[in-house]
Amino acid sequence: MRDEIPPGTLDMLILRTLARGEAMHGFEIADSIQETSDNVLHVEEGSLYPALQRMLIKDWIAGEWGKTSENRRARYYSLTKAGRKQLEQELARYGRVSQAIARILQPA
């Protein structure tokens, strides 16, 4: 069973994935999110690449070309300072929202 990523959270998930410190290319990011979520969350490629471009423009992530273990050219993304700050904000917001949702859903 796979689920779509809830709207508005893709950026946060990408940032969080990159926040582990390791630079990754697009496929690795998608795979990492999928695996970390135990195959529950599936990243749509159609949204992944535009999202990466968007974050490049906003300077939250930086992209650098490198080589894969198989010697293929790939763009490795890493978190910038601004990206880290953005992640903190989004996590805080997400925490607030999910707590609020949880309170509503809890049986009284």
Binding site: H25, E45, I57
Partner: protein
């Protein structure tokens, strides 16, 4: 931002990077799937399916950089340019049509711009005003004061130039004005510098140049010590005078010139760019300025309205405030000097407004007419575009089927129209330049600043604005049409049927508009043309053919008295009369259409009433020279001389208006208490002294020999010849110089030229509007022809079927003509309403007819309908010749 720009310039790199990234992604995904136990090929397909649309992702990523909208716009224009280039015939016709409309507009707007919009060439021109005096009928005012009736009965005030004595009082409004200065034309004879020449100059009061705000290029301006009777003789010359007559001599300030026999010291030279307010609307150049130095008697003559006045408002003072200040002064003067000043009021208005007032109405009417032309060209081009849009319907539906949005389609078509408009604008400006030169050449001198017409940013701006607007106007209908194409249509091959009802409706509507607009222009042109014909038919009351008129102004220094001047002209008349080919000669102060002198008189029949009346001093040959005939009594003879009984001849209007139709012979009148009574000895026929548009007014002809009792100067000399009048000019000039070698002759005109000049502005307006109407009708004909041709082509199979079923060619002809009739009738009806609404702006330009003149309207309707029918005959005949077999084969 910087990164965005980098993105803009490294697009290809960006795209290939993204591609590589995505490629890798798919490969890695495929490998992973393979590892999970799926076949290699299958795994690759799965990975690709999962990834989705490469191009869409590329697009989405690319759009994030924010350049897409611009890029699309650029694409639209590029595509537009390519499609237009592929249809050179259509493009040429469309651009030329637009160029015609825009060119006419550019030319007319250039004139309007130069004359009405461009500010006057003085610093802070908005503060300059001109001042006039207005007089209500004093007689009526005095009577109404005694009877207690309202002053409103006094009639509308008469505007005059200003009395110098009053001006001194108006100057006391120092809170309102920085200065008020008077000026007047003072032509003088320049001698001692080659052949004697008569130059146009102005006499101005001290402070004149300060009011205008123009410092001299060299030397100084007039000060109060220059401006009194008996002051040193000084003159300020223009740059043109300095360069042309004095060779740009650097020592100019130490030189003198001889004007009217008087030596004047040059004290200043004006800058090259300087032109006085009096220069606007004057073809001859003002070349010098002398101090007014008004004589003492003029300085106290409050009833003598002689001079033009220009003034400068203090900063922050409005015209209204200044007017209020003047009203107080006028009222005080009226109370203090009721005889001369009761009912006299100083009025001001902005100088610029004052200078253009005579041409404002007709220029605006012409501008409006040229605007109509632009609208007509718009509808015409829109029509062309619609035909094209229909032909391109297949293309449109394919594009829609491939996913183009309707918005994108409209934008694409509009981009094309705007490109057309831009090309039309450029061609229009080029054409406009040419038309402008033609306009300037044709324009009468009375249009101020007509010689200074150039194209400036306003002209270009207006042209660009109008072109853009027209591009949108004529583009919107075809664009909308195209966007309405149905994608499914691309699958059917129905090019012939395509077009649809909606397109026909659009085109019909456009043609109706076109016919209506042409109708309006045609009615306008018709009204002006008829006015002009009526004007030309006006009988002046005298015979202007073969009469040569010239001005011989004798300088006061050498010919100080009336009798000295009379003596000169008597001698000249004798000598010229002896020349072969001369039939009659005459001298007067002013010949008809060349100005005149008007004076207040009282008639012995009603000694308490005073009338204003035109008066001329004439020599005995006047009536014969101009061909004016005696109706009663006698003409002036050599017996009417100094010392004799003061006599006069009047016209018949004099008797009608001043003597209650009683016999004027033997009646007497005088100019005022204390002046001699003058006896009327003859009555001559009425003439229109001020030209064809002028009214017939009472006239007095006084014997020049007795002119010592009137303040006139003999100056206009007229000769009636048996042959071509101009051939005698040299001989006459020789006779003048044999009497006085320093005496110039100026403004030599045949009487016919004078009359011609007097109608030149009307001729100009009429000509332009007739040309405009011609262009409009031509375009409308093209429109009608196009719509009907198209409609016939579209209905080929229908018409063929009708023929096959037994319709006669005649029936088909009627069918098509009926369609034309509907178009034209609707257009003419709308045009009639439009004409009725718009001709009110022409009212001031009409002569002798009402703006609702039925014959003109009928004529315009008939003309337009006839031309329209002829235009529709060709397509109609083609329709009637459709071969049924051929037509049916189309199905």
């Amino acid at each position: 931002m910087l990164r965005r720009f980098r993105h803009l310039f490294h697009r290809d790199e960006f795209t290939s990077d993204l591609n590589e990234e995505m490629q890798l992604h798919v490969e890695l995904r495929a490998r992973k799937l393979h590892q999970q136990g799926i076949g290699t090929t299958e795994a690759r397909y799965m990975a690709q399916r999962q990834f989705g649309n490469y191009a869409a992702i590329q697009d989405a990523s690319s759009q994030l950089w924010g350049w897409t909208a611009w890029e699309r716009l650029f694409q639209d224009f590029r595509l537009g340019a390519r499609t237009l280039a592929k249809a050179p015939g259509f493009t040429t016709v469309a651009v030329l049509t637009l160029a015609l409309g825009l060119g006419i507009n550019v030319a007319v707007f250039s004139v309007v711009n130069a004359v009405m919009l461009r500010s006057l060439p003085y610093p802070e021109p908005g503060r300059l005003i001109s001042l006039w005096e207005e007089q209500v009928n004093r007689q009526a005012l005095l009577q109404s004061n005694s009877t207690g009736t309202k002053v409103g009965n006094a009639g509308s005030p008469r505007r005059t130039t200003v009395s110098v004595a009053n001006l001194l009082d108006y100057r006391k409004a120092t809170d309102a004005f920085e200065g008020l200065a008077a000026y007047d034309f003072t032509p003088m004879n320049l001698t001692g510098n080659g052949t004697p020449e008569r130059l146009t100059g102005e006499s101005v009061t001290a402070g004149y140049f300060e009011v205008l705000g123009v410092p001299p290029a060299l030397g100084r301006t007039f000060q109060t010590e220059d401006d009194y009777e008996g002051a040193n003789s000084v003159v300020i010359i223009t740059d043109a005078f300095w360069q042309r007559r004095l060779g740009g001599d650097t020592n100019v300030l130490s030189r003198t010139v001889s004007l009217d026999g008087k030596t004047r010291q040059i004290i200043g030279v004006l800058p090259k760019s300087f032109a006085s307010p009096a220069q606007f609307g004057l073809k001859t150049l003002v070349e010098f300025y002398v101090p007014a130095a008004y004589p003492k008697d003029l300085l106290i003559a409050r009833g003598d309205h002689e001079v033009n006045v220009v003034g400068r408002l203090k900063p922050g003072i409005t015209t209204q405030t200044a007017q209020a200040a003047l009203d107080t002064i006028s009222a005080a003067l009226g109370a203090q000097f009721p005889r001369s000043n009761l009912g006299t009021r100083a009025v001001i208005r902005p100088l610029h407004e004052d200078l253009v007032t005579g041409v404002r109405g007709s220029l605006l009417a012409l501008l409006g007419a040229s605007g109509l032309i632009v609208l007509i060209t718009c509808t015409n081009v829109a029509n062309l575009l619609l035909v094209r849009a229909v032909a391109r319907r297949h293309e449109s539906s394919v594009r829609l089927a491939l996913g183009a949005s309707r918005f994108r389609m409209i934008r694409q078509f509009l981009a094309e129209s705007l490109l057309l408009a831009a090309a039309g604008c450029i061609a229009g400006i080029a054409l406009g330049r040419a038309l402008m030169s033609a306009l300037v050449a044709l324009a009468p001198a009375s249009i101020p600043q007509i010689d200074h017409i150039t194209m400036d940013w306003r002209v270009f701006g207006a042209c660009t604005a109008v072109a853009t607007l027209t591009g949108l106007i004529f583009g919107i209908a075809p664009a909308w049409q195209a966007s309405q194409a149905h994608p499914a249509e691309s699958l059917k091959n129905t090019a012939r049927q395509a077009g649809g009802k909606s397109s026909v409706r659009w085109r019909t509507a456009l043609t109706v508009i076109e016919v209506a607009l042409s109708m309006i222009l045609l009615v306008g042109a018709g009204l002006l043309l008829k006015s002009f014909v009526l004007l030309m038919g006006v009988n002046l009351g005298f015979q202007p053919d073969r009469v040569l008129v010239m001005n011989i102004s004798l300088p006061a220094l050498r010919y100080g008295t009336q009798s000295q001047r009379f003596e000169f002209f008597t001698q000249l008349e004798e000598r010229v009369r002896a020349l072969p080919g001369v039939m009659a000669v005459s001298t007067s102060n002013r010949m008809p259409l060349r100005g005149g002198w008007s004076t207040g008189i009282t008639v012995d029949l009603t000694p308490t009433e005073s009338h204003d009346c035109d008066s001329q001093a004439v020599t005995n040959g006047y009536f014969e020279t101009l061909g004016v005939s005696l109706q009663k009594g006698r003409l002036l003879t050599s017996a009417d001389r100094v010392g004799g009984l003061p006599a006069a001849v009047v016209n018949s209007a004099f008797g009608r208006q001043f003597l209650n139709n009683q016999d004027p012979i033997g009646r007497r009148f005088r100019r005022g208490p204390g002046t001699p009574w003058i006896t009327i000895v003859g009555v001559v026929n009425d003439i229109r002294r001020s030209g064809k548009t002028g009214l017939i007014t009472p006239q007095i002809y006084l014997p020049a020999a007795q002119s010592d009792i009137y303040p006139v100067r003999l100056a206009d000399f007229a000769v009636r010849t048996s042959g071509e009048p101009r051939q005698l000019l040299n001989a006459i000039q020789g006779q003048v110089w044999s009497i006085d070698k320093d005496q110039p002759i100026t403004t030599v005109r045949t009487m016919e030229e004078v009359i011609d000049a007097s109608v030149s502005q009307r001729r100009f307006q009429t000509l332009l509007l007739v040309v405009f109407a011609g262009v409009a009708v031509g375009l409308a004909v093209i429109g009608i022809f196009g719509v009907l041709s198209y409609s016939v082509t579209q209905r080929t199979s229908e018409l063929g079927l009708r023929m096959a079923l037994g319709a006669e060619p005649r029936n088909i002809l009627t069918l098509v003509l009926k369609e034309a009739a509907v178009l034209v009738t609707a257009g003419v009806a709308i045009g009639l309403a439009g004409s009725y609404a718009l001709t009110r702006y022409l009212e001031a330009m009409l002569f002798g007819i009402q703006r609702t003149d039925a014959i003109t309207y009928l004529g315009a309707m008939t003309l337009l309908a006839t031309i329209a029918v002829i235009a529709s005959l060709i397509p109609a005949r083609r329709g009637s010749r459709v071969d049924p077999i051929v037509a049916l084969r189309y199905e």
